[in-house]
């Protein structure tokens, strides 16, 4: 078990290193990074000063070392637009994104599990058809557009909910639903197919033969086992959450890390963008690590491998 955790940890660090390497290489391969690091109206002298300060006049391997050692210490440079260390900006905004998480996850799971289970246990009925049409539309509808349609219906037309920005509880409803819908379709399909597989196993047949009520067979015996593959893909859902946060926070002017990312893109704020990407990578990889360990704990076959 220890060896397994250590192995995963090492893999995570290697991946993080590769992400850092790509960020480093992209800024160098596509021109002078000093120009990315200064405002557009900087003079030639200012550019040269930055070049010297960052060691850009030195060989690449020295530059890489400077960049990596800075990143490890949490020094990602200063945001051009905000004139603040990029790290501080990230951690200022992170809580706002995390505040959306419980509600949106709750919405996603609250829709995906019942629909997934019902569509598997009542194949071919109206509920199965409903679930599969939600799947078809959910995959095909752009979420940013769905959010705008939501604003049009609930803020403009019915005047029930605020169209954006942070505030009281009512401000959370639409952003959380938008963010939640990012994973609903995928999660539902996964639960459906995994349920269908479980329903076909011997132990479910036995549970039925011994006369357990159907609901107990479905919701207790089958669902528990059907959820294992969902847990494995939890890491992928976290990645989807980051993408979702970027889109949702852009539409609803929500001051979280997603909005910060897009601000950095819009203002060509390279130091900030690079910090956001590396820190997002750290978060995603840590969550994946925790999920892997949990998974090994729950599934002895991996632990003893």
């Amino acid at each position: 078990m220890q060896k397994y955790i250590l192995n995963r940890l090492l893999q995570g660090i290697v991946l993080l290193f590769i992400v850092a390497l790509i960020v480093f290489a992209l800024s160098r391969a596509t021109g002078n990074p000093a120009e990315l690091l200064v405002p557009d109206d900087a003079t030639e002298d200012e550019i040269q000063f930055i070049e010297h300060q960052l060691g850009l006049d030195r060989p690449y391997h020295v530059q890489l070392f400077i960049f990596l050692s800075g990143a490890i210490k949490g020094d990602f440079g200063e945001s051009i637009a905000y004139k603040q260390p990029a790290l501080d900006l990230f951690f200022d905004r992170l809580p706002n994104t995390l505040k959306l998480m419980p509600l949106s996850m709750g919405i996603a799971v609250g829709i995906a599990i019942p629909l997934g289970v019902l569509s598997a246990t009542r194949r071919g009925t109206w509920i199965d058809k409903l679930a599969s049409s939600i799947g078809v539309f959910g995959v095909a509808t752009p979420n940013f557009w769905l959010a705008i349609v939501g604003i049009y219906i609930f803020s403009v037309w019915l005047d029930l909910l605020p169209p954006g920005r942070m505030g009281g509880p009512s401000h959370y409803i639409m952003p959380a639903i938008t963010l939640g819908t990012f994973s609903v379709a995928g999660m539902m399909r996964l639960i459906r197919s995994s349920m269908l597989e479980v329903l076909d196993t011997e132990y479910v047949k036995l549970a039925r033969i011994k006369g357990l009520p159907e609901w107990k067979v479905f919701w207790k015996h089958s669902l528990r086992n059907a959820l294992i593959p969902v847990l494995t893909l939890f890491g992928v859902f976290v990645g989807g959450f980051v993408t979702g946060a970027i889109v949702t926070e852009t539409v609803f002017a929500w001051p979280g890390i997603g909005r910060l990312t897009i601000d950095a893109v819009a203002q060509r704020d390279y130091p900030l963008l690079q910090a956001v990407i590396l820190l997002d990578a750290v978060i995603i990889l840590s969550v994946n690590l925790v999920v892997d360990i949990l998974y090994a704990y729950l599934n002895p076959r991996i632990r003893f491998d």
Binding site: V19, P142, I148, T243, T261
Partner: protein, 300 residues
């Protein structure tokens, strides 16, 4: 009934009765609605300059924010209305179809070919090469590739090439994974062993004996991913990291109308409907093609 109609309509083809029946059956079970939507989109994209009533970038501020023709204040001169700068939405929609299709075809080709090739190599060669490629695939699938797309947009600048590169980065891993699985199954066939005994080089086996056999899967994968690419391009353009304005792109058009939902809903809503319809059409068509050509992919 279907057989009768086939008899009256198809005698010139010189087919036997059974064949006619089969053909009628096939025609009846083609996914017609998706095919019509795809047909309209491709037609609009190819003939955009002829079909569009106005230039997609021409600004007429006098006519700005006109609602669609069926609204009270709408005019028949701008069937789908105009945007904040007085550009004709129908014309922008038609030209936007072109952008979507160009991005989709180039990105699918590059992502598909790179991913497919790596998948064949990974599956056939196996060992350390396989482990390395598959780890890269896992990492790509777990990481939100949109972040790299944004990074590319900032370092390389916005443009068609940037979008295609970003989408390629998203696609290759999916193609590599599926192709590898397919090759692993093919490898156990006797004819591969026979080719090896005959002294064929690995490259020859991969190119001549394996690739033609994964072609069906490849085509199905291509079709199944058109929708995803159109959506990704729209999202990137919406976020300001896709095709730069004033070139019309559907995602960009949705973003244009975002601040004006209250007074001019049509600017955002209409292009979104177009995106949804086209993506559903491609997905349904892809599902149909998969069921016809490669039913084992269904579990994916």
């Amino acid at each position: 009934m279907a057989g009768d109609r086939a008899n009256t309509k198809l005698p010139r083809l010189g087919l036997s009765k059974e064949q006619q029946g089969e053909l009628a059956y096939e025609l009846k079970h083609l996914p017609w609605i998706p095919l019509i939507i795809i047909g309209i989109m491709v037609f609009a994209a190819v003939f955009a300059p002829i079909l569009a009533p106005y230039s997609p970038t021409k600004q007429t501020l006098r006519d700005k924010l006109l609602p669609p023709a069926w609204q009270e204040e709408g005019t028949s001169e701008h069937l789908l209305g105009t945007d904040i700068l007085g550009r004709d939405i129908l014309s922008r929609l038609i030209h936007g179809a072109r952008v979507s299709l160009i991005v989709a075809s180039t990105a699918l080709l590059s992502g598909g070919v790179i991913g497919g090739a790596l998948g064949v190599i990974s599956g056939y060669v196996g060992g350390k090469v396989d482990t390395l490629i598959m780890r890269a695939v896992d990492a790509t699938l777990a990481f939100p590739t949109i972040l790299f797309a944004l990074l590319l947009a900032v370092t390389m600048g916005q443009g068609l090439l940037t979008v295609v590169l970003a989408v390629t980065l998203i696609l290759w891993a999916r193609f590599a994974r599926v192709t590898r699985g397919e090759v692993l199954a093919l490898k156990t066939n006797d004819y591969i062993a026979l080719a090896t005994i005959h002294g064929c080089s690995s490259i020859r086996i991969m190119a001549i004996h394996i690739m033609p056999n994964v072609f069906n899967t490849f085509m199905v994968m291509l079709t199944l991913h058109v929708g995803l690419v159109i959506l990704t391009e729209a999202s990137l353009s919406f976020l300001g990291a896709g095709i730069p304005p004033p070139t019309p792109s559907w995602g960009q058009m949705v973003a244009d109308g975002r601040a004006k939902v209250a007074s001019a809903w049509w600017i955002s809503i209409i292009p979104g409907v177009a995106i949804t319809m086209v993506v559903i059409a491609f997905n349904v068509f892809g599902d149909w093609l998969r069921d016809r050509l490669d039913p084992k992919l269904r579990q994916l």
